[in-house]
């Protein structure tokens, strides 16, 4: 047990605070794709580890916190998948109700089938790309709409 904990400490690293340009790129994606204004995230920092972006509340000062050996910081927000940005289902479940564009409303039976079979034949007036999956007022997470299909990225 002692050994295991030590190993984790060693690996634990503070995520990097992203540059203003990178922050703007990620938040612009949310704004353009889903119509969620950048100001929604004004009280949050955007941090990055490898290909992941994390949302973390903006502290009065970050430096004292950076001396802690952390396991996780904030909420997993967006991932970089090859050259694309992909919203996480976790973040969509939290902020997806603010989306005004690229929202797919499914019936309970369609949602069931999507969760079971991971894809559905689907035609809608949508731009191809990542979508918010909703059912009866609840946001379930992220899907991909492409070529007449809806692909599930639900956890």
């Amino acid at each position: 047990m002692k050994k295991r904990r030590k190993k984790i400490h060693k690996e634990a690293k503070w995520p990097r605070v992203v540059s203003l340009e990178e922050r703007d790129e990620v938040l612009s994606f949310w704004e353009e794709r889903f119509g969620i204004p950048k100001e929604t995230f004004a009280d949050y920092l955007l941090l990055s580890t490898a290909k992941n972006y994390w949302l973390f509340v903006k502290p009065p000062e970050l430096r004292p916190l950076q001396n802690l050996q952390v396991q996780t910081v904030g909420l997993l927000f967006t991932r970089r998948v090859s050259k694309w940005l992909k919203p996480t289902s976790t973040a969509l479940q939290r902020f997806g109700h603010l989306a005004t564009r690229n929202v797919v409303e499914l019936t309970p039976s369609e949602l069931d089938r999507l969760r079971r079979e991971r894809r559905l034949p689907f035609e809608a007036e949508l731009e191809e790309g990542y979508v918010v999956i909703k059912c009866e007022g609840k946001v379930w997470g992220c899907g991909l709409y492409a070529k007449g299909k809806l692909i599930s990225y639900l956890p």
Binding site: R4, H9, P60, P64, Q69, L75, R94, G137
Partner: protein
């Protein structure tokens, strides 16, 4: 394992502390009522949850004076298997377990340490109470318990918490904490009732010196909080050795005072004398909650201010 018929003998030593002792013993035969907290961070419209649960045959009623808390019938309904749970709209937790965070009164923009945070009921309650705008350090010393904490933070969509895995007694200095919650590991006597027999920690870990651990955690929390800051010490046990005696230890070692606090559940002053030992008079400002008076788990809460 403590069987229900052995409970009267076990709790006899607390006869003087527990009001209406016979009624208390009788109450232990009833199972714990089921409550949940609604998570408005993820669910902007309460009726989605309430109607969803009612469709599953559940009766849901708001708890007076406890915003966002609901009581559920039947009490054995598996809330953890529902869509509402999966999507992070609800957090099942007993009513009295909400009291320490009510005493803590966290504010947006403050640094808050939840020293023994897993599995996260109180951490997520702090996040909700501050609109996800406080800076919460959620710590737990055990990796397996930390995994449950991380999962709950994710499930409830909390972005204001970071997690650490320090032993609370040696949590590093350097963050100017405004408020610290020490919801200490305890023997869990307040939880004891039908359906929870054998859950008492003193039996599971017979050689663990709980009061020593609790004193270590509380003193460290006090030393970590800034001058004028607040430390809330709570347990879900009846034993004064894990409650008043621990806080008394702090009051004698450091410049601290207990701050009186309003609670929305019936409660009694902390004891100032136990088995011949006299405690600091401030302990009368701590609060004791009993299962039969709260329809919940027995709790002890002390709100402590750092004076110097």
């Amino acid at each position: 394992m403590l069987e229900l018929n052995e409970a009267p003998a076990y709790f006899e030593r607390y006869r003087e502390i527990i009001p209406r002792f016979e009624e208390f013993l009788e109450h232990l035969k009833k199972p714990l009522p089921l409550y949940f907290r609604l998570n408005e961070l993820k669910c902007p419209r309460e009726e989605i949850v309430l109607k969803g649960l009612e469709r599953q045959g559940v009766k849901v009623e708001p708890v007076p004076n406890f915003p966002k808390f609901y009581r559920v019938e039947p009490r054995d309904f598996p809330l953890g298997n529902t869509e509402e749970y999966y999507l992070g709209y609800i957090y099942p937790m007993t009513l009295s377990s909400a009291l320490p965070v009510l005493a803590l009164e966290p504010k947006p923009g403050e640094y808050i340490l939840d020293m023994c945070a897993a599995p996260g009921s109180k951490t997520t309650q702090i996040a909700q109470a501050t609109g996800d705008r406080a800076v919460i350090v959620a710590n737990d010393r055990r990796l397996d318990r930390l995994a449950a904490l991380v999962a709950n933070l994710k499930r409830l969509g909390v972005a204001s918490a970071l997690t650490t895995i320090y032993r609370g007694e040696v949590f590093p200095y350097g963050v100017p904490f405004d408020r610290i919650l020490v919801d200490a590991p305890c023997s869990g006597e307040g939880r004891y009732r039908q359906g929870y027999e054998g859950e008492l920690l003193y039996q599971k870990e017979g050689h663990t010196n709980l009061p020593a651990i609790q004193k270590g955690l509380l003193v460290r929390a006090f030393d970590l909080v800034k001058v004028g800051g607040i430390v809330v010490y709570s347990t879900c046990t009846i034993n004064p050795e894990e409650n008043e005696m621990v806080v008394d230890y702090l009051l004698r070692k450091r410049q601290a005072e207990i701050v009186p606090c309003d609670y929305p559940l019936p409660h009694h002053p902390g004891v100032t004398e136990w088995e011949g030992r006299v405690f600091h008079p401030d302990l009368a400002k701590a609060a004791r909650f009993f299962p039969h008076e709260t329809e919940s788990v027995g709790f002890f809460v002390a709100k402590i201010k750092r004076l110097f």
